[in-house]
Subunit: 348 residues, 2 copies
Amino acid sequence: MHIAPQETRTEISALGEFGLIDLLTKNIELKNPSSLKGVGDDAAVLDHAGYQTLVSVDLLVEGVHFDLTYTPLKHLGYKAVAVNVSDIAAMNGEAHQIVVGLAASNRFPVEAIEEIYEGMRQACKKYNVDLVGGDTTSSTSGLFISVTVIGRAKPDEIVYRSGASVGDLLCVSGDLGSAYMGLLLLEREKAAFKANPNMQPDLEGYDYVLERQLKPEPRTDIVKILRDAGIKPTSMIDISDGLASEILHLCKASATGCRIYEDKLPFDPVMLNTADAFNMVPAVAALNGGEDYELLFTIKQTDFEKVRAIRGISIIGHITENIGHADMVTSDNQVIELTAQGWDALKG
Amino acid sequence: MHIAPQETRTEISALGEFGLIDLLTKNIELKNPSSLKGVGDDAAVLDHAGYQTLVSVDLLVEGVHFDLTYTPLKHLGYKAVAVNVSDIAAMNGEAHQIVVGLAASNRFPVEAIEEIYEGMRQACKKYNVDLVGGDTTSSTSGLFISVTVIGRAKPDEIVYRSGASVGDLLCVSGDLGSAYMGLLLLEREKAAFKANPNMQPDLEGYDYVLERQLKPEPRTDIVKILRDAGIKPTSMIDISDGLASEILHLCKASATGCRIYEDKLPFDPVMLNTADAFNMVPAVAALNGGEDYELLFTIKQTDFEKVRAIRGISIIGHITENIGHADMVTSDNQVIELTAQGWDALKG
């Protein structure tokens, strides 16, 4: 664990629940006018007047979603907020508030919890989100973080998974598979370290994929860019579990099929190098890897020229009749059926 | 654990995350017009038009907040919702939606998770709350439940902890200390069972205090009764940690002191019998015990006659100048200072 070489170690029990809450929340400033009252009462008070409210929750469980051998606590806090903000972006909305539930065993001193909160604070600052409430408690073992995000959108702006129609173009922001390659690297170095604790980690040149794994950034910028360009996606979802799984979700909700093209999938050069080192087909990492937190969305064909003009968005396929499945045309012109082998936290 | 004698045991991994979500959410109907879209997208969509939104989160952690030796899973699910609804009642609002995070180890089959959800469903039905989203995942050990509740109130109806003024009367709904006596009973029977697994539990006549512990009911009725009577509390909090701790919260937020009277504390006869059996002073159970989920609130003196006419509300003291502490006048006319020895989940 990264919390090992601490100069001071304060037991959580020495502060008690309310002391810990005071410590963690003393520097929290509310920035959104919609956050009327934050931490300090039985509930936070928000005003989303004129907007509809979006709510989503994500759990991060030690040993399932993160491994503290290689995940710095600050990054963990950051990621816990980021992945929730991503859910609101995927509705074409703006995240405004979060409430945090945190359970930690006595293995974690107060300083560790502060690190997690510091990471949350950084993500909140970057994405203009207010931390307005929480519950902090002990666990008998392990660390559990639950973040509930509250966002808003004007009623006519909200984009559901279910709005895709035949002929719509399927688009994805950024590049795919990098977060998964980062995970493979970290797992490899962990295994090497276990075998020989004197070894030095061999991570040079891999910064990009490591950062994609450890510090994902929700694509709130894409939401704004599309809005500014006058494009409203017909359906949207964020890529948390892997492209294949998310495509199947869109198709199921929209009652459509889909065809994508392997050649159109966007990859970063560092990701391609890493995939090469692991002898892995890049498309497999993209389809099944997960945690890219890019946006997957469909647009009307009439928006084609507008979208093509936007850097960082790739058109990877199109929506078809509901044929009961979704396909990928591979680089060598085979048609394969997509299956949801996305990362499944329940199989952890 | 109460889940032991199952006729069928389905491993969660056999269903996978999405299969489990489908199973758990297939019968969920949305009842509140404010719940526009529930489970099934990246976020739920709510419309609290004309109201302010209230948000609160509570964690329930196995081994800290509940013991499955004597807590039926259905009750656990019920309680997880109930304690959150109570937080919204404490703001003088109405709970409308919840989102649920649940992490369970492979010790729990699908049937166990269904039991928890069934309890949640019952509480949602009783309190007219919609389950609109969630995240279900595995844990390496133990069961963690995070419930975030979203409620609403008209802006001028919201009651904060901070509104108490000198001379206000301090009131409490229902009776106190019962949930704690229920806990002591359950712990006693657990210890006896450990010593002799053939023993029969001796719980006859204790139904009331057991139910108060295992199946707490939030006092949404009190919110309505006060409104109908034209009384708006000046401050309010729910009693989750024990009366003393909650009084100190109110006083701190309102920058006041407080004086209560032991003789005025409301007790149920079964609670008094149980306290007697445990050789415990009833006021101590009320002050330090916790989990009563009654409402503690202050009213203006001009509302005295109105409140006195309401059954099930006790006036237990009054707000004083900010003397830096809160006092209780005991039955034998001693004045003691209240200290926050409330149940502290961090001291587990």
